[in-house]
Amino acid sequence: MAVMTMIEALNSALDTVMARDPKVLTFGEDVGYFGGVFRVTENLQKKYGAQRCFDTPINETGIAGVAIGMAVYGLRPVIEIQFADYMYPAYDQLVSEAARIRHRSAGDFAVPLTVRMPYGGGIFGGQTHSQSPEALFTHVSGLKTVVPSTPYDAKGLLIAAIEDDDPVIFLEPKRVYNGPFDGRRDAPIQPWTKHPASEVPEEYFSIPLGKASIAREGEACTVLAYGTMVHVALAAAEDAGIDAEVIDLRTLIPVDIEAIVASVAKTGRCVIVHEATRTSGYGAELAALVQEHCFYHLEAPIARVTGYDTPYPHALEWEYFPNPPRIGAAMRAVMEA
């Protein structure tokens, strides 16, 4: 075991898989020599050579399209989209191509591709460095969508994503790259070193996709969250003094419906939290699943705490970012209903 930040854990995942499997290679803008703008691919070019870890032209269509061709050939490419906000030029390749190739060819071709993207706000990134586009992927059949919240999960899930035989969108909550940010922006910065999930095996391990984890056991209400919002929800429960059960979904598609049902059946109350805009967001799907599977257990309407249906505002970031008071208010609302 070693103590790692999420960045170090992701780097360790890539290092571990590249050491085991010569079919794994990684590339993207500034990924090679420089090691990525967030340093996730640091030293990989030095260790594995420029054939296996390299910089690309600034063209997300090309990065995705080329990676699909490589995956079709039989490699396991891992691409980095420098910010999730930059993925739109690649969207056609991901949605119309990567996601559909197995189905349209009746299994003749497959695309074992992993698409890493730092996502989310809380870094004063403005509208082009803060978005949470997960629902644009969870809506697409043929893609899996994964969001880790801790260094341990980041390594185990990234390894599972790379080894998966289908395309996986791997969204990295960049606000918690270097520490478990809990949404209390005036509180002192917490390093990962004090968090138990920063203990990460240096060797190979993986966490199966499609399995949620319970970040906090509780009896009062269920909070469904992923990425940075897991930490914010934990802080909200503490601040509000509510014995919430916080479920860290980890994989959005396929989602761990059993974990959701077990928790909501127990608590009868459900709060859904995400940073992304609300309307048609992934939370809407979660709310539909909860009412389909747990309607007779529900004691209160399901509450959503999300980003607003506006572009991500630069100066008003902390008004937009779901914070512990907003989540606490939603918890109280479902408790009092």
């Binding site: 032209p57 063209n59 050939y73 390749q93």
Partner: protein, 417 residues
């Protein structure tokens, strides 16, 4: 703008250019602006020529055959008549196949079809100049690749009929074939997406120390897509062993090639800006297409990187069964195309070199039509597109993922509702 007319414009008012083809329905076809150099010019360059050496190849037109069927110049490929005869027969088969399946669509037996009439030489000659393991990333008008690689006609037809024998299980629109075993990548209905994928496949081959190369095809209209630019950039930057083909058949449905920028420059010339050796070739000249492809393939195999080829040809049929070309171009335009018909031109060449005659040709035509008819009967026995799908309802849930996730299992099992 004031009521009752246009506002007065200043003398130096800016003007917008809206490209217009030379002729629309009711007008006389006009190809007088096409500059046809003599066959043999410009000559075959050295394999290691760079884009700087190739301005004449990109702006001119590589030809081998003259219009009387005689071969000229350094591009004339050193191939025996048996190869040419094989090419001719594959083109005849492709045309006979197209004719039958076009009729099948008109008879309501299939939902949709795309012919390649007039462009047969592109796919057939190129496939024959490639090796069997080389990977093709075609668009929807290169059925000649499958035919030249002896893919079973019955399987092609079953795909078109979406019947129980369809290797794609009825998942795709007709003509969207896929066969990894024949080096034929699953066709996408989206345009130009296959181009960066072909570059990636070629990069993967080089990364893996393989010896196989890739090729991709796109229409001149689709070169306007960003994917084309992505493919050219990556192919050039990483020296990918790939042949990128632009099939300039003059028409993208109803839009003439000028709408993709063909008024200002050639499509081959776009390659020079990326530093990619680029050639414009008479796409109706089997020998020239073969020779240019062979040159590009040799370059790729020698680690000299990508080549862009513009095939200058004419789409003699409709875009698909969903459009009527007499609504947007003169009906006589195909016959007026100055570079003729690829089958006729190869036939004339084989006759000129004493390997073929009109009687044998007529017999070969008849034979290919009979081959297609026999395949058609067999495929139709398996089924035609009907009200009831030949495919089990559950099959649509397969292959979305390698393994069926719970939510798809649930949706599959909701069937009775």
């Amino acid at each position: 703008m004031p009521e009752g007319g246009e506002a007065p414009r200043p003398a130096n008012a800016l003007k917008l250019h809206i490209p217009k083809p030379h002729a629309r329905p009711g007008e006389t076809p006009d190809f007088s602006d096409i500059d046809l150099p003599d066959p043999g010019e410009p000559p075959r360059p050295a394999l290691n020529a760079t884009h700087r050496d190739m301005r004449r190849h990109a702006y001119g037109l590589v030809r081998v055959l003259d219009m009387q069927g005689n071969a000229h110049g350094s591009w004339a490929p050193a191939i025996g008549p048996e190869v040419l005869l094989r090419g001719l027969k594959a083109m005849l088969l492709t045309r006979a196949f197209d004719e039958r399946m076009y009729r099948a669509q008109r008879q309501g037996k299939i939902s949709f079809y795309v012919q390649c009439r007039g462009e047969e030489a592109v796919a057939v000659a190129q496939t024959m100049a490639l090796q069997h393991g080389d990977m093709c990333f075609p668009s929807y008008r290169q059925q000649g690749i499958l035919i030249a690689r002896d893919y079973p006609l019955v399987d092609m037809m079953c795909q078109l009929y979406s019947n129980a024998g369809d290797p794609m299980k009825g998942r795709q629109l007709p003509v969207m074939y896929s066969s990894q075993a024949h080096g034929f990548f699953t066709i996408s209905g989206n345009l130009a997406t296959q181009m960066p994928q072909a570059v990636g496949w070629a990069m993967a081959s080089a990364y893996s120390g393989d010896v196989r190369i890739a090729a991709s095809w796109v229409g001149e209209g689709s070169t306007a897509e960003g994917d084309f630019h992505a493919a050219m950039t990556f192919a050039s930057v990483f020296g990918a062993p790939v042949i990128l083909n632009v099939v300039n058949n003059q028409w993208a449905i109803s839009s003439f090639q000028g709408m993709a920028g063909g008024e200002q420059t050639t499509f081959a010339a776009r390659g020079l800006g990326y530093g990619i050796p680029s050639i414009r070739v008479d796409g109706n000249d089997f020998l020239a297409v073969f020779a240019v492809t062979q040159w590009a393939a040799e370059r790729a195999r020698a680690n000299l990187g990508p080549t862009l080829i513009e095939h200058f040809t004419y789409r003699a049929g409709a875009h698909s069964t969903s459009d009527d070309p007499s609504r947007y171009r003169p009906a006589e335009e195909a016959a007026a195309w100055p570079l003729g018909d690829p089958i006729v031109r190869l036939k004339d060449h084989l006759i000129a070199i004493g390997e073929w005659d009109e009687q044998v040709h007529a017999a070969a035509e008849k034979e290919t039509q009979e081959t297609v008819r026999a395949a058609g009967r067999e495929a139709e026995k398996i089924g035609i597109l009907g009200g009831v799908s030949a495919h089990a309802r559950e099959s649509m849930f397969e292959d979305v993922y390698k393994e069926l996730p719970w939510h798809l299992r649930q949706q599959r099992d909701e069937g009775g509702l």
